[in-house]
Every structure is written in C-alpha cells, then in structure tokens.
Amino acid sequence: MNKDLEEKAIDLSVISKIISDHQPFSQEEVISSLQEIQDSYGYLPKEAIDELAELTGTPVAKIYGVVTFYSGFFLTPHGKHSIKMCRGTACHVKKAPKILSAISGYLGIKDGETTDDMLFSLESIACLGTCFLSPIMLIGNQYYGKLTPKSAIKILEGIAKEEQDKK
C-alpha cells in the first residue's frame, strides 16, 4: 500500500456536501452516501467514516458494519481503475483463471491487491452475470468480453498509456 497516500491529510469538507444531498438523513441514506464518499476518495478513509457518523448522528460502528458487509466498499486506498475478473462457471471453462494470472503477472499484484502507483486494483468476482461475453472483466463501469490473456493485457496497457498522457 502506498504509505504517503495513506498519511496524507484528508479534506473532510466533501462529506458535509455529500450528506447535504441526502436530507433528511435516515439509515436508508447510509449506503448511497458511502458510495459517493468512496467515489470521491477512491476508498473509505477512517476519518471520512467517522465524519459521516459525527455529522449525521449515526453510530459509527453501524456504518462500519455496513462498510465491511459489502465487498464493494474499500477501507484501504484502492486503485483508480478497479479490475473485476469474473470467475463464474462460464468464464471458468473459457479459461478465465489463465487471464487472471496473466493480468496478475503483468501488474505484479495478486488477487485483492493494488499496484504501487495506485492505478489498478485486481479482484476476482464470483459472477458478473454476462456469461454470453465470457470470459469477461469489468474495469470501472466498462465491460470487456471475450478476452484472451493477450487482449486483456492490451486493454490494461491502453489504460495505463492514457493515464500517462494525462500527466
């Protein structure tokens, strides 16, 4: 994990802006607020969870319980691009594990980890529900189907280059 990033002071003013869109605040608003907070920071920093609890009067343990229940919430800094590789039955028979290990080798991280440059996180998912496109991965909101190890890496190279260009 990137130490510098973790230790960097966090601007908490975002939280009050987010919850102002969720008034009157009730328990039902917790999940959507957390999603927006995660969108903003890329993950859910401790301080952000505490601030959400403080500002809304929701017990912080309850929010923490919600966060740890859903695999879509991250408590540690997460890559800018989140790769979700499907390992459902259809993908599995079409050699998804090979694609996963190719990506893993290319990025130098294991399933569940994030690259040092914070660009990519990799995780395998039980099923993305798009078997007709198998084998498939999801990066952010974009599906990439009918993959081969080669095409998968090409896609990642493309994203990495795009990010490089942005700089």
Binding site: K46, I49, D50, A53, G57, P59, V60, A61, K62, I63, Y64, G65, T68, F69
Partner: protein
C-alpha cells in the same frame, strides 16, 4: 386474550405475543440462543423451530411468529430434534470447544442444548481461525473480553448495545464465516463509543463475552450468588454478587431481566466497579493516633477511647461541642442508629449526613410545596412520559438506568426538553436543548411560567382545586419576560417558548432534576420553582407525571428518611411537636435534646471557631466533598478529637485521632432506600476483611461506651424498632421486601406501597405556590475570574472516587482529571485539546487536562470532582443555601492558565 395449544396443553397468550413469548410465559421451554426477551427477534439461530401441526415438515420460528387463536404448536418431536441437532452441529463447528477451561462451563446455553439434542461437535470439522485467540477490540481493555472463537454470532450483544443501551458501539464486521463482533475500525473498547455497561456480557449465551478480571477465578456454576442492592447511585439496581466462598471474594456481578427496576441492566459501576471490596487498601484494623502517628489498635482500645473522649468533651464543653456525621453510603439501620446515638448518648441534634451536600434543598423545597420531599413518581413510569423535562441533570452518566428508561420513552415517541449548560448525551438528542447560563435556572423557569400564564396554557382547574397562594406567585412572575430571561440566560426566546408550551401541554409531562438544581446558593428556591411549574400545569399527582429528583447516593433517600438531620426525627417528624417528642422519648428512654443542631457545613465552620471539639464521621470524606478544601483541612485540624469510620484511608481519615474500619455493602445485612422511595435489602455476601466490622455494630458499641446501651444482634432488629417510630415505613419488614422491595409511604402491613405521590391531594393538603425572586450566583464572573466553573460527576467514577478509582476498568477509561473548555474559549487562551492547564479560583488552583469541545458554553468550564490528586473542591465556593447550608458547587468564578499548577 388468545387461546392456543402448545404440546397438547391449552394456554393463554396476549395478542401480539410471539409463540416463544407465549410459551415462556406459560413455563414451556422452547430452545433458543438468539432470542432475549428484551430484544427484537431476529430469527438468527434457528433453534426455536416449532411445528404447527402433527406430521408437519415445515417448521416456523417461535421467536418471530405471532400467536393466533386456535394455533397448535409442537415444540419437541423427532423431526425437530434432528433439525436442532444439525443447527447445533454447524454452530459447534464455529465454536471452539473449550468447556474444560471455560468459566461458562455449566452456565452455557450452547453446551446445554448440545447435550440435550446429542449434537456431534466434530461432525462438520472445525472452522477455528487460530489456536491462539486473535487480537480484537477487547484485547487492550481491562474489563471486557471477547473470544471470537466462542462466538456463535447470535447478535444478542449487538442488539443489546443498539436497542437497550442505544449506543451501538459494536456491530458485525464482515460476513459469512469471517463475521465477527467489532467496534468501528476495531478500535479498542475504551476509546470507542462503548459505555462499558457490560450488557454484552450479560446477554451472551456462551462464554464468548466475559469479564476479563473474573477469568479463571471460578466457574459461574460454582459461584455463590447473593442478591443485593447496588452501592453506587440512588437508582437502586438489584444485582447478584457472585462469590467464590473459598477465596471470600466477589468474582463477578450478574443481574437478570425481571430482577428489580433495572430489569437486567446495569451501568459500568454496577457491573464492574467492585474491585474495591477486596482491595488490599481496605482498612482492616482500628487505628489510634499516638504522639502524632496513627498506630494499629484493638477494637477494645479504639471503642473505649472514642466513647471516653466523646463523653468527656460533651460533659466538659456541653453537647453542642460534639457532632455526628452519618452517611448515605451506609444502610437505613446504620443511619437510624447514628442519629439515635447523637440524640441519646450525644444529647445533641448535631447530626447530619451528605444530603446537605447534594439534595437537602430537594427535601426542604418539595416538603414546603407538597408536604413530602421525595421523588414523586417511580422509575417504571418513565417510559410512559410523553414529555420529559430534564433540568440540571445528566441521567445517562449520573443515573444510567434512569437514563435507559428515558431512552425507552424517547423510542416510544416522548418529547425531550433538556435545560443544561452542557451538551450532554440527552441534550444532543433533545427536541429542545436550552443551554442556559449556569445559575440562571430561576430566571429561566420564572419566564417560562410567565409565558405559560400569559398564553393561558396553565391548568386552572388543578390550581383552583388543589393549590393555594397562586395570586402572590402570579404577581411575582409578571416581571420575568421571555425577552429579559432569554438575554440573561443566553438562550433563544423561541426555544423557551416552545419548551414552555411543550411541557404545559404534555400528556403527561414529568420533571427530572439533579444537582444542577440543588447545588446553588439558591438551591431550595430552584426546587420550589420546579414545584411551582408542575403545579401551574397540573403535571403532578398522576401516573408518569410529577417532580422527580434523582438522588445521588445509594441510600441518600434512606439517610434522609432516617432523618440523620438536625431538625427532624425518623420519618420527617419535627421534634418540636410534643406528640412526636413523647413517642420518641418513651421509645428511647431519654429526654430529647432541644438544641438547633447543625449541618455538616456548620460543623466545619464551628470546628474553625473552636465551638465544635469532638467530631464522629461515619463513611464520609468531608475533606474531599466539602467546598474550599484548604479551609476544611485547616478547620478539621483544630478539633480536639476526630473519629473516622471508613473502609479506606480517606483524606479525612488521614487527619483523624481514631480510625474505625467499617464493612462495605457486600459485607453486611440491611436496607437501602432507592430514589423512588423503594426500600430494598442488602445482604451479606462476603466477610469483612481483617478486623473490619459492620457499621451498625461499631455505632452500637460506641453508644454503649458513651453511656447509652445499644444491643442489637441483627440489623433486622434495628429496622423493626425504626418502623415502629416511622409512619412512612410502618408496614415494611424484611420479610415483605425479601423479593422486591416496597415504596413508602407504606403505613400498614397490608399496604402495597405507593407508586406515585400526591394523587388526589397533596401530602400537606393544598399545594403551596411560593413566589421565587431570582438571585444570581454569589460569585459572579469578573475581569480577574471571567469564567463560570461548574463541577459534577462522570459515568465512570463515583463521588470522591475512593471506590471507583480502584476499579481497573474505570481507571483505564478515565485516568485523570479534566476540564471541559469551549472551542472558542480555548482558542482565546491558546489552549489545545489534551493540554495541561491550571484552573484557578479565589480559593486555589489545580491542574487538569483540557478537553476542548463544544460541550460547554463559551462563558463556562466544567470539571469532575472524583480525583484526589486534583480535588475540584479546592476551587469551589463555600457559600451556602440559606435554608439547607448546601454549597454552591455549580457556580463560581474561575480563570484558566496554560501549564501545570
């Protein structure tokens, strides 16, 4: 009523009940792990599966299925046994089988059911994470231990924390096989939101949650349980001391739903703070000061000396030269004996107790208005209040179990008004929080009452029928406009108006107050004015409606009822009344003293002038508890003879000529009277350490040695003598209160006790309206001392701290003295959070850790008085309420400085 059949037996149930509730009410056991009678059913454990007809293969869950008329329920069958066995076998695969070393062996529901249904513990293998218990949120905590490998995820603890304690300090972390109980971010318990009430331990069906200190000190099933009354605040919780008889040690404290008004709940002090009982610091031998040094002595020597010296001083300088300080920490019997000692052997009315320090204005104020100076209603009624008006009280910290009842009322939709200079837990959640300036209570109340009259929100019928002197009262409040009061109190006019309206129109409303009202130089006036407010709106003398002082000490109600006070005899009977005098003189065989006597504050002053020479103090620490500590020490040193009867070497005992080691609540029999006037038993669970003796025995021996023989073989005999003289208690005896306790007035043996007072008519006849003129605090802030200092209590410690400071869990949570400072004020002084600061008043200065927050007002600071190394009473002002001599602990002028004192 609903009729249903369970296992062929026809039973009755109330509509809305679940099958589980109906079965348990009728004495039919349905196995359950996640069900707890006070918690919302979740149907998590699947143990309570029952069938609804013979040959049925689709069971339902008894805990979450409602009863209906004609329902047939089968709770045991081969089918159910095999299902339950499977459930248990799955649970056992997650539960480390460590019954051989587990404290809960023999007191574990999982073990019981596994045995009952023959579950195979190894059928599904084991999913234990690690042989060594992984670190978790309790690893660093001294009180509570969570063993994840014994946890069956029934969620009782999580639900208790959410639904009853309403804190939600813990939740489930993760899901599936890795799910565990955790605090947010796995923060260690004492720095999380946890209030350390121990409720999670009390509801845990296995040994997953336990008291860390009790581990290995005896299996639950082997400990001997003695039911008794909690020794901390005045709520009067019922609990069981679990004693290892071989070690003569209280190992843990338990309680259960249905036991007493606390209904299974306790606070951190009640559950954990009993280390003091077996503390090595306990006094075990009498001490006599010889050539300036306290030396061990025998009981014979000590009693002899006390008896001799007190008598000598009495005879040489007159009875007014000796005084007796009784203690509300002690039992009714002991308080009765102490005042009897003063008035018989002592021949003086110089008898007082610590109510003077706290709630004497309550006794004086409410007596003058209603004719009775006690809490008008009961704890059980609180949940039925529709508007709760809390003023100068912090129930969730000082009276936590009353706090829980208020939380219950809030959950049922009650409105909450909190008038408090601090943002307490309740204040933060109140519908209206009036954060008025300390000491401005009467300005606030007068203006609110004026508004109620102007808006015709008052209850004219009630006033006409049941009260007197309304006109004079009305005239007085006319000059208190909302506008003027809002300005003085520093609160919004709108809030005052809405609060007045809300209280007046509540159906019903009830007032709750504590020392924020009484500990002022206008304490008695404050109380009288709350009585005015209640009468004005007719919010008294009915269910869930009245004026309710929450008494601070375990037996401060009883101490007052026993009248260890100068002006009255047991049962608040004035000794000026010839009939009363005759009754007591006949019973005691002496002629009663006619002197005015004095309060503890007078005793200190008179010690200073040399008027008082001999002072016998039982279970009190005036050096710590009286205002202006430097002066108190100086004056007490002037005494010819000071006796302290104590369980610890208190600050006062350090000055004593003789120290007599007493027994604590766990070591003697007797009764305490709780705030709601409920007389309850305390019972001996362990023997006193060393030569320590129960206070009633010591007092009796001293009386005998002073020339007035007292011979009792058991506190019950003292009680029986007392009830003959005290009409409020006349119908009470040990047998009647063996189970539940009785609430006075209880005039006859067949009287059921009184839940709430003043129904139909006030004790004094008509309720008396008393015009109250606002008087500001005696020491107003000025240029030199610009802030207002208030002192008070926290959840984790108790009064002078000599008991709770010995508790590992309280000490860990709150180690040192602190002072709450507003963020804005702190910035002005460039003080940052957790910085050492000096708090200075005209009387002295002490150091404390700054707690910077928005909890207090900008013009005020607040600090607790539990810490001997930072005694807040060095700072407090020794000015007194003219009626009761109660000191103004809640208001004095102060200044802050950076750095250490």
């Amino acid at each position: 009523m609903i009729r249903l059949t369970i296992n062929g037996q026809e039973v009755q149930a109330e509509s809305g009940q679940t099958i589980m509730e109906a079965a348990l009410c009728n004495g039919i056991d349905i196995p359950h792990l996640c069900h707890e009678e006070r918690l919302t059913p979740v149907g998590a454990c699947r143990m309570c599966q029952v069938l609804l007809s013979e040959g049925d293969y689709k069971p339902v869950l008894a805990c979450s299925t409602k009863v209906s008329d004609g329902l047939t329920v089968i709770t045991e069958s081969d089918e159910l046994t095999s299902r339950r066995r499977a459930v248990l076998e799955l649970l056992l695969s997650e539960h480390r089988i460590a019954c051989t070393t587990c404290d809960s062996d023999g007191a574990c529901k999982l073990q019981d059911y596994a045995y009952r249904y023959g579950a195979d513990e190894s059928l599904f293998g084991s999913h234990q994470h690690d042989r060594k218990m992984p670190a978790n949120y309790t690893s660093e905590n001294r009180g509570i231990e969570y063993d994840i490998e014994k946890c069956i995820r029934c969620s009782r603890c999580v639900r208790f924390c959410e639904e009853i304690q309403r804190v939600s300090a813990i939740a489930f972390d993760g899901r599936g096989i890795d799910m565990k109980v955790n605090t947010a971010h796995g923060r260690t318990l004492h720095i999380s939101d946890c209030e350390l009430c121990g409720g999670c331990i009390r509801v845990c069906p296995t040994g997953a949650l336990s008291e860390k200190a009790a581990k290995g000190s005896g299996r639950k099933k082997d400990l001997v349980k003695t039911k008794t009354t909690c020794t901390y605040c005045g709520v009067g919780c019922q609990l069981e001391l679990n004693v290892d008889p071989k070690a003569n040690k209280v190992v843990r404290v338990t309680t259960k739903p249905g036991m007493g008004l606390n209904d299974g709940n306790l606070c951190v002090k009640g559950h954990f703070a009993y280390d003091f009982i077996s503390s090595p610091e306990r006094l075990t031998k009498p001490f006599i000061r010889k050539e300036g040094i306290l030396k061990e002595a025998t009981w014979h020597e000590a009693i002899d000396l006390v008896g001799k010296r007190m008598r000598e001083i009495r005879d040489k300088y007159g009875p007014n030269s000796i005084a007796f300080l009784s203690s509300c920490r002690c039992s009714n019997e002991e308080n009765y004996l102490m005042q009897k000692l003063a008035r018989t052997a002592g021949r003086t009315n110089n008898i007082d107790q610590c109510a003077t320090t706290c709630h004497a204005p309550t006794v004086a104020g409410l007596s003058s208005a209603f004719g009775s100076g006690a809490m008008t209603n009961s704890v059980v009624e609180i949940k039925n209040c529709k508007v709760i008006f809390v003023i100068g009280s912090n129930p969730t910290e000082a009276h936590p179990i009353v706090g829980l009842e208020m939380k219950k009322a809030m959950a049922r939709g009650a409105k909450l008004i909190v008038c408090d200079p601090r943002k307490t837990w309740m204040a933060k959640r109140a519908d209206i929080h009036i954060q008025h300036r300390p000491g401005s209570d009467n300005m606030l109340i007068n203006a609110m009452m004026n508004y109620i009259v102007e808006e015709k929100l008052y209850n004219k019928d009630f006033i006409d029928a049941r009260c007197e002197e309304f006109e004079a009262f009305r005239k007085n409040i006319e000059s208190y406009s909302i506008k003027k009061a809002a300005k003085y109190c520093g609160v919004s006019e709108e809030d005052m108006k809405s609060a007045a309206r809300m209280y007046a129109l509540g159906e019903p409303s009830s007032i709750f107050y504590t020392l924020g009202i009484t500990e002022h130089s206008c304490g008695t006036d404050n109380v009288k004015n709350l009585a005015n407010l209640a009468m004005l709106c007719g919010q008294i003398g009915k269910w869930a409606s009245g004026v309710n002082p929450l008494r601070g000490q375990n037996n401060v109600q009883g101490g007052c009822d026993m009248c260890a006070m100068p002006h009255v005899l047991p049962g608040y009977q004035k000794w000026t009344d010839p009939v009363v005098r005759e009754k007591f003189e006949k019973a005691w065989g002496v002629s009663l003293p006619m002197d005015e006597g004095g309060r503890v504050t007078h005793f200190i002053e008179r010690a200073g002038t040399g008027e008082l020479r001999g002072f016998y103090v039982m279970g009190e620490d005036p050096v710590m508890s009286e205002p202006n500590q430097h002066k108190v020490i100086k004056y007490l040193k002037k005494l010819d003879f000071l006796v302290c009867q104590e369980i610890f070497m208190s600050e006062t005992a350090k000055l004593a000529d003789v120290i007599l080691p007493g027994a604590c609540f766990a070591e003697k029999d007797g009764t305490f009277t709780a705030s709601e006037r409920r007389v309850q038993r305390i019972r001996k669970a362990v023997t006193p350490p060393g030569d320590a003796r129960p206070d009633w025995q010591i007092t009796s021996d001293i009386s005998t040695r002073m020339g007035y023989p007292m011979k009792y073989s058991h506190p019950g005999e003292v009680f029986d003598e007392m009830v003959l003289l005290n009409p409020l208690y006349a119908g009470i005896d040990y047998k009647r209160i063996d189970e539940d306790g009785l609430q006075w007035p209880c005039p006859t043996k067949d009287h059921p006790g009184t839940i709430f007072l003043h129904e139909g008519t006030f004790k004094r006849g008509k309720g008396l309206f008393q015009p109250i003129v606002f008087r500001p605090q005696k020491e107003e802030p000025d240029k030199e001392y610009p802030l207002i200092l208030s002192t008070g209590r926290t959840l984790y410690h108790y009064n002078v701290g000599n008991m709770t400071r010995k508790s590992g869990i309280s000490d860990q949570k709150q180690k040192e003295c602190f002072v709450e400072i507003n963020t804005v004020t702190a910035a002005k002084y460039s003080i940052s959070d957790k910085e050492q600061v000096k708090v200075i008043t005209r009387r002295g200065s002490i150091s404390a850790l700054a707690r910077v927050s928005k909890r207090v007002r900008e013009d005020s600071i607040w600090m607790p008085f539990h810490f001997v190394e930072a005694p807040a009473n060095i700072l407090t002002n020794d000015v007194f309420d003219p009626v009761t001599a109660t000191a103004e602990y809640k208001c004095c002028a102060a200044e802050l400085e950076k750095g250490v004192s």
